[in-house]
Every structure is written in C-alpha cells, then in structure tokens.
C-alpha cells in the first residue's frame, strides 16, 4: 500500500516538481501515471523507491515512512519494490541469467534457490533459452523482459515502471503489457508511467494524471485524455 499526504518536492534549483499531492494506492492495483513531460511523473515514482525524499508531506510505502527512512534501511525498502525503466538498465557485462540472479544475491539467498527462482522467472518472461546471452545480444523487447524478470525475482509487492514500452514497437509493447498484467494478476501492485495512448485506452485501468505537480485527474478505468 502506498499513501501520499500533501507531498511537495522542490529541487535545489527551485523547481517545484510536486506541489501538494495526496493519493492512496491499494494493494494489487494497476495504475497508469499520465501527463505531459516534466509534469512530475518521474518524481512521483522516485519518491516511492526512495531515490528522492519529499520536501514536505508524508509518504508511506508498505508501512515505511519514506521521508524519515534511515539511509541504512533504504536497501531493505527497495528489495520490496521492483523498478523498470525505459532504457532497461541491465548490467552490460553480465548475462541475462546473471542480471536476474544478481537481485537475489543481494538479499543473500542460497545459491540453489537463486538458480531455481531465476530459471522460473526466465520461464515466466519467455526467455529461458536466452539465459546465457549478454544484453547486447538481445532485442529491445527481450532486454525489457529481462529487466522485468529482475524486478519480480524477489517477489516485490510493488512494481514501479517508468515508460517501460517507450523504446519498443507496438507489437513488442503489447507483449510487455501482457506480462505486466500477468504479474499484477498474481498479486503485485503496478504503477506505470506512460505516454502510450493506445495502451491506456485499450487496457483500461486506474489513471492518475499529473499536471504542473498536481493530480489533475484520478479515474478508475479511465482513459488517456491527451492528444498523444
């Protein structure tokens, strides 16, 4: 469960990225975050995985008070949040398998379990056969699938995805969306920032629109609401 109460975020250069946002996202929800570039979508997500701290207001993620979190505790909060990016952010020198297993090594899981679980998620994202490939040897869609596998390998309760289909062609994008829906169906909350009108309008979910650092719309089974 994610809850924000009157959250403000002002950067060092004086930009007000968020200006009093209050929202409640329940467990197992699927939320699209829409709005113009620079409206505050990325900041909204960075606050959830504690890349940023709020200037004012309160955020609670899975019961942790993000603003008051001690630096030592940050890694433990992040282990319960999977993050997916537009540019995949895989480690280029590691194979697909190693990239996924890495997230489990971090939590000091036993090797036997790492192996079992990593192969399991590779199966789930449909890339079992490519476990030994380096990211450069994979297509964009495949790289994003590996990134998703890495995000879910530790069974997080929340997935935060920043334009996961931004670099992909429509067909591949739908593949990724099916995968995310499947993950959501298995019980994971998904918060996804996107500019993809077709996806938002077809696969209807809760839509939160952010404009000028404020929530402009918050509609269950909403539509994209912008021209592109």
């Amino acid at each position: 469960m994610i809850e924000m109460q009157d959250v403000w975020k002002t950067y060092a250069d004086g930009t007000h990225a968020l200006r009093g946002v209050s929202v409640l996202i329940e467990r197992n929800e699927f939320v699209y975050l829409v709005g113009p570039s620079g409206a505050g979508k990325s900041t909204f997500m960075k606050l959830i995985y504690r890349e940023e701290v709020p200037t004012k207001g309160q955020i609670s993620v899975n019961g942790f008070n993000i603003g008051k979190l001690k630096p030592r505790k940050i890694p433990f909060v992040r282990r319960n949040i999977g993050v997916i990016f537009q540019d995949y952010r895989l480690l280029p020198k590691m194979t697909a398998y190693e990239n996924i297993a890495f997230a489990m090594e971090v939590i000091e899981a036993p090797r036997r379990i790492i192996k079992k679980r990593t192969m399991e998620v590779l199966e789930l994202v449909g890339l079992r056969g490519k476990h030994a490939s380096l990211p450069a040897q994979l297509s964009g869609g495949e790289q994003q699938r590996i990134a998703i596998a890495r995000a879910i390998v530790n069974n997080p309760s929340v997935i935060v995805a920043d334009e996961p289909t931004g670099n992909l062609d429509p067909e591949t994008s739908w593949g990724i969306m099916n995968l995310l829906e499947e993950i959501n169906f298995r019980g994971t909350t998904i918060i996804m920032a996107t500019h993809n009108k077709e996806i938002v309008n077809t696969l209807r979910k809760r839509v939160i629109a952010i404009e000028n650092g404020l929530i402009a719309r918050d509609v269950m089974r909403g539509d994209y609401g912008y021209e592109n």
């Binding site: 890694p75 433990f76 909060v77 993050v83 952010r89 890495f102 997230a103 090594e105 036993p110 890495r150």
Partner: protein
C-alpha cells in the same frame, strides 16, 4: 556476513577483472609501469647505500705507540681498547709487520726507497689497527682511545690517526647520497600511488551506472563495496607480482653480467638474496595497498549518489 556471500564477493571480484578486460589492463599496466620505475630506483638506492657502507667500512683508526712501549703495556692497552663499546676489532701490528706492509703498499718500483731498513734498523713504531662497529662513530672512538693514554703517567701513544676531516667529509657525502636516494624513492612511491589510484578511479567512474543499478535492486553499500575491494586487491596483487618478477629476474641477470664486465671496477652489487625479500615485500605490499585504496575511495564516492 554469510560465508556463501563472502565467496560470492570473491567470485564476483575475480569475474569483474575478466569482464572489464581493457579497464583491468589499463589499471595493471599503470601499476606495472609505476612500480617498475620505483623498483629500479629502489635497487639503485640499495646499491648506492651498500657502496657507501663499503667505503665507510674501510675507515679505521691507526694507533701508533711510543717506540719503547713494554709488551705488558701493549697487552693491557689492547684489552682496554677492545673494551670500548664502539670498537669491533683490534689488531696489533708490530714494527716488523708495519715495515712489511709499507713495502707492499709502495710497490716494486719504489722498493729502493726503503732500502737499508730492516729488522735491526726499523724507524717504525708498533701500532694497533682498530675497526669500529659503526664507521660513523669513528671520531668518537678515537677520542676514547686518546683518553686511555691520558690516564696513565706517561702517554704510551705516539699518535692516533683516522683521517680526521677526510672521514667527516666522506660521511657527509655518503649520507647525502643516501638521503637523496630516500627522497627519490619516496617521491616515486607517492607518484605511483596517485597514478595508479587515478587509473582505478577512472575505471570505476565508467561503472557508476553499475553501482546505481546495484543500489536500485536493494544492495547495501557494504555489499556493493566488497567485490570492488577484492577486485582492487587482485589488480594490485597481479600488477605488483608481475613487476617484482620482471624486476628481480632482470636484476639477477645484471648481477651475473656484472661479474664479468665490471669485475675490475671494484663495484660489488648487492646480491639478489640480500634485496629480494625486501623489494618483493615492499612492491607487492605497496601495489596491493594502492589497489585497495584506489577502488575503495572511488566506490565510496559513488555510493553517496
């Protein structure tokens, strides 16, 4: 930390060396080059020091006795001089031996100068040749010997000579040479440290992204730091062992060659046995330390992000 995690860090650190092939190559090269230069100067300094010691050890005190000194006095003086803590060796040189030595040192062509001097007709006094433990204390030891003579009623010493003035100058030069060597080696060590750590910093700079991804999946700072720490240590170790082997093998060849080529020049190089251990420990220790230091400092910088 779990043992399996520690093993994982070692595995990961070693793998990173292979994964970052060119960066590893750059780091190891900079270690090899810097430490090699340092090692060459270190060997040079050790040899200069050795040479200085050889020259210094040749200084000795000559104590000339009055012509009519009784054998009992000679024996007692010998014991007394030997009792001085700075003295390492006392050798009695009788007037006959003295004449013999003088003849030898003057050589064949000047032999006629000493003609007519023999056992009955010997102008030389009996003497002691005194060597000291630390050549630098020679004037101090000479003063103590002089004091021995002043305690008895009639001074048994004709004169005490140790090259006053000359010896002090010699020591001034050898000490200066030693200090210059020390400064050069110290300066090179510091330069090597900065050169190597800069290279390592650059290789880690290229991996900032890697660190940020590690943080994103929830790695603790500790967890991120370990493989880098091991990687740095391994790079330092590999680089310095490589350097040490090349340097010492090269030095061994030089010693071998010098036995034929510079044999006549009276220069005796320090043997491999004498310096091998010191040079290895110093270079490998320094290399490994710099490897760890460079990577630890750099990672800490990016962990704050």
């Amino acid at each position: 930390m779990k043992i399996s995690t520690l093993l994982r860090h070692f595995r990961e650190g070693a793998k990173n060396i292979l994964r970052n092939g060119w960066m590893t190559f750059a780091s190891i090269s900079s270690i090899v080059i810097s430490l090699f230069i340092l090692g060459v100067f270190l060997l040079l300094a050790l040899n200069v020091n050795n040479l200085a010691s050889q020259i210094e050890s040749q200084v000795q005190i000559r104590v000339f006795l009055q012509l009519d000194t009784a054998q009992a006095t000679i024996d007692s003086l010998s014991t007394q001089i030997k009792a001085i803590p700075e003295v390492s060796k006392v050798e009695f040189v009788s007037k006959e031996q003295g004449l013999e030595l003088l003849r030898e040192s003057m050589g064949e062509e000047n032999a006629d100068l000493l003609e007519g001097y023999d056992k009955e007709n010997n102008p030389l006094p009996d003497s002691f040749t005194v060597e000291v433990l630390d050549p630098q204390t020679i004037s101090f030891a000479a003063k103590k010997i002089e004091a021995l003579g002043q305690t008895s009623e009639s001074n048994p010493f004709l004169s005490i000579k140790y090259g006053k003035g000359t010896v002090e100058n010699l020591f001034r030069i050898t000490n200066a040479v030693r200090n210059i060597g020390l400064v050069i080696v110290g300066g090179l060590a510091i330069t090597a440290m900065f050169l190597i750590s800069t290279t390592i910093k650059m290789t880690i700079l290229a991996r900032r992204r890697e660190i940020s991804i590690m943080k994103l999946v929830g790695a603790t700072n500790h967890f991120i730091r370990w493989p880098f720490f091991i990687e740095g240590a391994l790079i330092g170790l590999i680089g310095s062992v490589l350097t040490t082997v090349v340097l010492l093998v090269g030095y061994d060849r030089l010693i071998e060659a010098s036995q034929f080529d510079f044999g006549l020049m009276m220069i005796k190089l320090v043997t491999l046995k004498e310096v091998g251990f010191l040079v290895s420990v110093l270079l490998v220790g320094l290399g490994t330390m710099i490897g760890i230091w460079g990577s630890t400092i750099s990672v800490r910088k990016y962990l704050k992000v």
